[in-house]
Amino acid sequence: MIISFPDKKKRRIYKENFLYIIMMIFGFLMLVPLIWVVLTAFKTEPEIAKLPITWLPESFLNFDNFVQMFAEQPFGRYFFNSITVAVISLISSTAIAVLAGYAFAKIEFKFKEFFFLLILSVFMIPAEVMVLPKYLMMAQIGWVNSYLGLAFPDLFTAFGVYLFRQFMSGIPDTYIDAARIDGASEIKILWHVILPLIKPALAAFIIIKFMFSWNQFLWPLVIGQKQDMFTVTVGLVAFSGQWYNQWNLIAAATVLSIIPMLLIFVLLQKHLVQGLVMSGTKG
């Protein structure tokens, strides 16, 4: 019997298409929870409780959940709080991480490795362990129920120092030498030479940091005890009761809470992708 195989090119195309199909299936599976939440945000409570389940809402123009959500809880305030905390911690942690990363990557000083390990060790302690001591500290300073108190654990991040140190270590020292001879001070070198070269790392850091800060739950719950200091994540819990969850409102609030992160991602995506492309094509 003669078995005929498709030629090599065809076989490659089949293989590629098969891989794409697999990837699409997994991609879709990952999107299912998000799609479900978005669809739920437009459903009425009876629709949500209905069995068998229905995927699509009866009307996509049903914004009642969004209206009710703002009526029941001061979500405008929660959004403002979350954004304020995220921005404060983003600015502070980026500034500290960039400066520290530069020092660890490019400046020689005594006990450099020891201090770097010390900073890295912060990584190794679970955040939950530090909640109580931090709370006691905040209480003594008087930062409970304040934006500084909310942002406090995120003002500095060991991850940022590590990320920027690694990225900056890859930048040839001769750029810095050349800039020093060209008359630039250390701060100007950092601003004019180093920062433009680490844009992809900056973009990645801002996305990760913003997401981390935005999604914080335990710390804001502990430190922001008055309703006007609640963040979005804490506010969402208000719709969950001991016996009953208002899924329609939770879904609507969740959909709105995703928007700032999506915006940040869309804005910085170019730099992130550029960074990935650059690192892939460098000789």
């Binding site: 001769t174 020093r180 060209d182 030479v193 070269l197």
Partner: protein, 361 residues
């Protein structure tokens, strides 16, 4: 334009001493080349002059002013790096202007100076390109432009041509020489390439293990190497070097090995330290491949019987390798007269060009 002086300059990294008591004077407008193999301390010396490395001891002076503690930006020097060090996110124009901008110059003055240098280096058409869009030669030109645009007191070059291919290197070498003739700025150039050193330098400093072996004009270094190391390092193919014994017969001195005996002319003795020309002493005898010739004129005086080992056609010349007794020599000759491997023939040597070194390793 300026003078540069290094006075007992040393540099150590921990217990490792990489530069030892270097004393140098570079006169106004001079092109000085620091030459030596990797790890000889030449780049460290240059970086100390630039202010990118601190000296462990000694003084560096520009125009007789000690600049040890001055920042690189305050030394009024410019440096061209081996890997160009062009800022990859800036266009050629911005790269050229960066040094002037950092010195808070007026925008109009910056534009004027940048355009002037761009014209001089034929970069005008490339001003909006980024370094990644330039060829190696163009990048090196931009790097030179960036150094020139500030009209510094001293130019420092750290192996600026070593990343280029052979043809481009020769081309840029000539351009560099022309530029120096035009600008007459004091320049210090580091290289491990003896051809670059020979062609560019007013004076060459040969370095070994952080110390200066010899300072001299390219001719002095080539024709009168002071140490065995310099003799080995300069010249391609390398100088023929053999261990020989000194033999004094009456008032004449001979160098002998096996049954080979070479008479040493007075001129050689006069330029050699006679303290080690003692009867029976072991020395190194050197003769350059260009100072040996095939003796086809029947001149018996100073001729040696040789056996051809190998001939290599180089183009206008031929490199021959042959043996006299059990000593092998190389020579560059215009014509090999059809002598092949294994043939016996006669060679002559220009005895006046013999070099004698005390050390044998």
């Amino acid at each position: 334009m300026s003078t540069v002086r290094l006075s007992n300059v040393s540099k150590s990294f921990g217990n490792l001493r990489v530069v030892s008591d270097v004393n140098l004077e570079i006169s106004d407008g001079e092109f000085l080349v620091l030459l030596g193999p990797s790890g000889c301390g030449k780049s460290t010396t240059l970086r100390m002059i630039a202010g990118l490395e601190e000296t462990s001891s000694g003084d560096i002076l520009i125009d007789e002013k000690v600049i040890n503690d001055d920042d690189p930006k305050d030394r009024n020097i410019a440096m061209v790096f081996q890997n160009y060090a062009l800022y990859p996110h800036m266009s050629v124009r911005k790269n050229l202007a960066f040094g002037l901008k950092m010195r808070n110059m007026k925008t109009s003055t910056i534009a004027e100076k940048v355009n002037e240098v761009a014209d001089m280096l034929q970069l005008s058409d490339l001003m909006e390109r980024f370094p990644a869009q330039l060829s190696g030669g163009q990048r090196q030109r931009v790097a030179m432009g960036r150094a020139m645009v500030r009209t510094p007191k001293v130019f420092l070059f750290d192996e600026p041509l070593s990343n280029l291919d052979a043809v481009l290197r020769t081309e840029l070498r000539s351009e560099l020489k022309k530029l120096h003739m035009q600008l007459k700025t004091t320049s210090i150039y580091v290289t491990h390439d003896q051809v670059e050193a020979m062609t560019l330098a007013d004076r060459i400093v040969v370095m070994k293990n952080g110390k200066i072996e010899q300072i001299g004009t390219p001719k002095e270094i080539f024709h009168n190497p002071k140490t065995l190391y310099v003799a080995k390092f300069i010249g391609n193919p390398q100088m023929n070097l053999h261990e020989m014994q000194v033999k004094k017969i009456n008032n004449s001195i001979f160098l002998t090995a096996s049954s080979l005996s070479i008479p040493i002319p007075k001129a050689v003795i006069n330029r050699t330290n006679t303290s080690y020309l003692k009867d029976g002493a072991t020395i190194s005898m050197g003769i350059r491949p260009t100072d040996i010739f095939i003796n086809n004129a029947g001149n018996k005086k100073g001729a040696f019987k040789a056996k051809m080992i190998l001939t290599e056609m180089l183009g206008a010349e031929t490199l021959i390798e042959f043996g006299i007794e059990d000593l092998n020599f190389k020579a560059i000759v215009e014509d090999d007269y059809g002598i092949s491997s294994g043939d016996l023939f006669e060679v002559g040597m220009n005895f006046e060009k013999i070099h004698i070194f005390e050390d044998t390793t």
